[in-house]
Symmetry: C2
Subunit: 325 residues, 2 copies
């Protein structure tokens, strides 16, 4: 018996010693059958191309270790099994609960996720999240923060080096949400945004930045959406004699490690994968323990701004100094 009923210290110790000696491990299949719980969590991972596997892996690591901390294991399922995969997992009683990663706006797994009868947490925000527990970064807030930070420094002509929205068709909607945040804040702050689609490599950065430098009125602030953009963009700006933090203000979305090792360390909005995972796993375990119902709502992790050296005030224009809010 494992922990369910009271036991005298004497026999407990005796049993524990024998377990140790014999190297006893309970048979998981028998436990699952008799106890009707598997102690396994199904993790549905997107292995499509065009997804940043570095961040997916960060999530997997965090989720797996949090699961083990509560004596759960992780069953890895690829997203391309689709809705039928989810049915199989719970139909065959392969797991007690599910986590779906990279859930898109119109995800065909949403309806079956709702009717599965086991706890489910989504990472991402679908259009119709009604009744589902969803956890994600607040990408819209991140976009707003970037614009606000630039506007606070007096910038009114801003370029957004954007992820191609076409490349993410039908996938996760974080780039759309970020951009929506940028646009809302731009309107609110009465600031100009020029969006330039860019691939995150040196030659495309070169192309796009030359385009940007030709713009009139001149751009003084830059928002980088793609997490691989900072290295090539910083390099190209320096090649053109524009030092981030002195000649042009740069802010964006990327891992801290990258931001810090740039020639000019970049101000970023932080995406804490661990915090998203912590919340997702916490609500999953609460559902498994029947502490909360299996229906839930959207839980957005607020962004936090990390100021480094890539931001500067907007230069005076025509002798007029921008009012700083």
């Amino acid at each position: 018996m494992s922990g369910k009923r009271s036991i005298s210290p004497a026999t407990r110790e005796r049993v524990e010693r024998v377990i140790e000696e014999l190297g006893y491990h309970p048979n998981s299949g028998a436990q699952a059958l008799a106890g009707s719980r598997t102690n396994i969590i199904g993790l549905v991972v997107p292995f499509r191309p065009n997804i940043d596997m570095t961040v997916i892996a960060e999530f997997m690591a965090e989720i797996a270790s949090r699961a083990r901390a509560r004596d759960y294991d992780i069953l890895l399922v690829t997203a391309d099994e689709g809705p039928a995969g989810l049915r199989r997992l719970v139909g065959r009683s392969l797991c007690d609960a599910l986590i779906l990663m990279e859930v898109g706006s119109e995800d065909d797994r949403i309806p079956v996720a709702k009717s599965l009868g086991v706890p489910v947490v989504l990472i991402g925000v679908p259009q119709d999240s009604e009744g589902l527990h969803c956890v994600d970064f607040d990408f819209q807030g991140a976009g707003e923060t970037c614009v606000d930070e630039l506007a606070d420094l007096g910038h009114t002509e801003i370029a957004l080096l954007a992820i191609d929205p076409e490349s993410k068709k039908g996938q996760a909607n974080f780039s759309v949400r970020f951009r929506r945040g940028v646009e809302r804040a731009a309107q609110r702050r009465d600031v100009d945004i020029r969006a330039l689609v860019m691939e995150p490599n040196h030659s495309d950065a070169s192309r796009v930045i030359e385009q940007m430098l030709a713009l009139d009125p001149p751009v003084t602030g830059l928002i980088l959406q793609h997490s691989d953009a900072p290295d090539p963009v910083t390099a190209v700006l320096l090649e053109h004699g524009r030092t981030p933090g002195a000649d042009i203000a740069v802010i964006g979305l990327c891992p801290d490690a990258l931001a810090e090792r740039l020639r000019v360390p970049m101000t970023t909005v932080q995406q804490q994968a661990s915090e998203v995972c912590r919340r997702a796993m916490e609500t999953l375990f609460r559902m498994l323990n029947h502490e909360i119902p299996t229906t839930g709502e959207v839980d957005l992790v607020p962004v936090s701004l990390v100021r480094r050296s890539s931001m500067n005030r907007a230069p005076a224009v025509n002798g007029y100094i921008h009012a700083i809010s």
Copy 2:
């Protein structure tokens, strides 16, 4: 009954129809208990920092999909559970077989892997691989191929932009094996190699390449070991007026997609993750079907050279044209 004994077409069809109608799924715990097989493969994944998760994810995707193709599922285990994790997996009968990724030279999981009593395949080549099935890229061959290709074009002064060997201490040994290949071939071809340790970002590439350009006798060929090096290195070379394929020959190790979208598409040795996974899974399934014993040997996937535009002949030196072998 699923497939084990003969059955009349009539009843078969009747049963299949009912299965369909009722949405029947066999209970995996009961199957495991009664059949003493789980149809689950344990996959032990390294989530340490300093590992390229892009390639790890490529392996996971390939392994998971090949497993599903034979009706196996994947249990995800993090490498930091160590040897005890392996014992737990088979002790609790959570899986029928194991795959260990990123196995290092002196891996403390090796001895227990040998005594586990279930089929195991390692991805990587430990020092003591005796009796274990190991599959990996032939990194040594890759290193040799790079040097041979340069030497064939007449280059005798070659720089290796290398991964810091310290950063991989106690981890997988592929960078050591690549470098060993480079050194062996250099000796064999009587060619000079200067190794320069580099981090794969634009500013470190800049530092290292300036260092390289100052070398005497001048370097005419470049080997890139780090798969993230090609973009920044190509950029820095062009900044210094050296066009790969015209002024300097460049070859290296990186994904095809990256090599092809560079300003000068780069000649590379190809690392086919899918081929490594295919072989690993093939031998695993053969073991599971008792077609081969659970003891095995090292299986290295040969590299294949993909020529693109980054290579040129060595320039004539002092009026003397190098003899081409």
